[in-house]
Symmetry: C2
Subunit: 224 residues, 2 copies
DNA sequence: CTATACATACGTTCTTGGATGTATGTATAC
DNA sequence: GTATACATACATCCAAGAACGTATGTATAG
């Protein structure tokens, strides 16, 4: 077999990424050879070298494909025209947590990122990429929370930097620990609780909300 | 040169571990060859193979040496005879955070664990080891918090499981994000704040401290 | 026909584990 | 105290495999 149609070629490219994720997850990125990935995908190394420069390039493509779905949701939350930015923000966070539990493909990429790959130097483009991803995400959150403040959904005294830091800490910590010990707590069922708890600290915790805790108009702070 | 005295041999063993940590940190564990480590330590691969079985064994030895100092502090906090277990617990948490900032050797191991090594299968002894380390740590924390409850330092209604989970989330999240972006916040200066904030949630957050606010009148709260 | 989408074949580079060499520390005998 | 015997603490050398990148072959879509 040889030359396929363009659509078919695109399919094999996707298959290769799928296979890479599986092999990366099973053996770790460094111990995964391109031959392993090719076998898993049902092609030869030649196919991989046609679509990608090398293993690093396959890895980057996998991350890129993983980034897109979350991107869409965060765009909605960040929109200044959005009337309920805090609720869109809440949806986004809950979605990330629950998708990690429910969608094996999504979870697999997170597991690879946390437990099955190595970032080498500060100058490593991959390390830089993750770093920028965090910083960009922080900026998005900052804008979204700013919109929420303007709409009166959060106190004007909110310390944005602390809020962003705490969000990173909470989300990263949740995903990291749950992926390590999935049976230690029910992330899917309690996702909304965790997110609401975080939003509550934005409103009431003095070190984040500002000097005086006050009660904003009723939002979705439901506890079970 | 050949046979050294026992003390000198122990020194070279330590040197090898030091060198391994440096090389692991610089190149990532998988890309570090035993030759790299030997060169960094100023010995040959023969020396490493004398003291250790293989690279995995060097890695395990590095982790073991890293575990010990924290172990001592946690033992104190856990002691049922300790009169102020909550304060010892607080000291322990602050120490871990600040030592990560101040002690380059300590920080290096954390960076390796988070960013520069791969855990492969569920059956991987290293993965298991980290998992057990989390579970054991959780048990210690559970006992320590239990002591604190008996001494009246924490509410009797405290949900221990949630408290342990939240601690893992908070500490792991803090270390992970700060190691990724050390300039994004002042972990050293705010370490006590973060710990106190966590302890405050143990006392006041309804979902963790207990459901006094939401409990219908007429009976003690039953948990778990 | 020609560029595409792969498969196949090849040479090189690294790394590993073990085998072997060797010089010194250390314990014991005398 | 010294000679002997052995274990220790490495250094050096070697064989084998794995993975990579490239170069080349080839059949088909356009």
């Amino acid at each position: 077999m040889a030359r396929r149609t363009k659509a078919e070629a695109q399919e094999t490219r996707e298959h290769i990424i799928d296979a890479a994720a599986l092999v990366f997850h099973r053996k770790g990125v460094s111990r995964s050879s391109l031959n392993d990935i090719a076998q898993q995908a049902g092609v030869t190394r030649g196919a991989i070298y046609w679509h990608f420069k090398n293993k690093q390039d396959v890895f980057a493509a996998m991350l890129e494909r993983h980034r897109l779905p979350t991107e869409a949701l965060s765009q909605r939350a960040e929109d200044p025209g959005e009337e309920d930015p805090l609720d869109r923000f809440r949806d986004l966070l809950i979605d990330v947590l629950q998708r990690t539990v429910r969608d094996p493909d999504h979870r697999r990429v997170f597991e690879i990122l946390f437990y099955k790959c190595e970032f080498t130097e500060q100058t490593d483009p991959l390390m830089q990429r993750v770093r920028e991803s965090y910083l960009d995400g922080g900026d998005k959150v900052r804008r979204t929370l700013g919109n929420a403040i303007e709409r009166g959904q959060l106190p004007a005294t909110l310390n944005l930097d602390r809020a962003v830091t705490q969000l990173h800490v909470q989300m990263t910590g949740l995903l990291y620990t749950w992926l390590l010990l999935p049976d230690s707590f029910d992330l899917d069922g309690e996702a909304a609780d965790f997110v609401d708890s975080y939003i509550a600290t934005l409103r009431y915790c003095p070190t984040i909300a500002g000097e005086r805790a006050h009660t904003p108009p009723g939002g979705p702070v439901s506890q079970t």
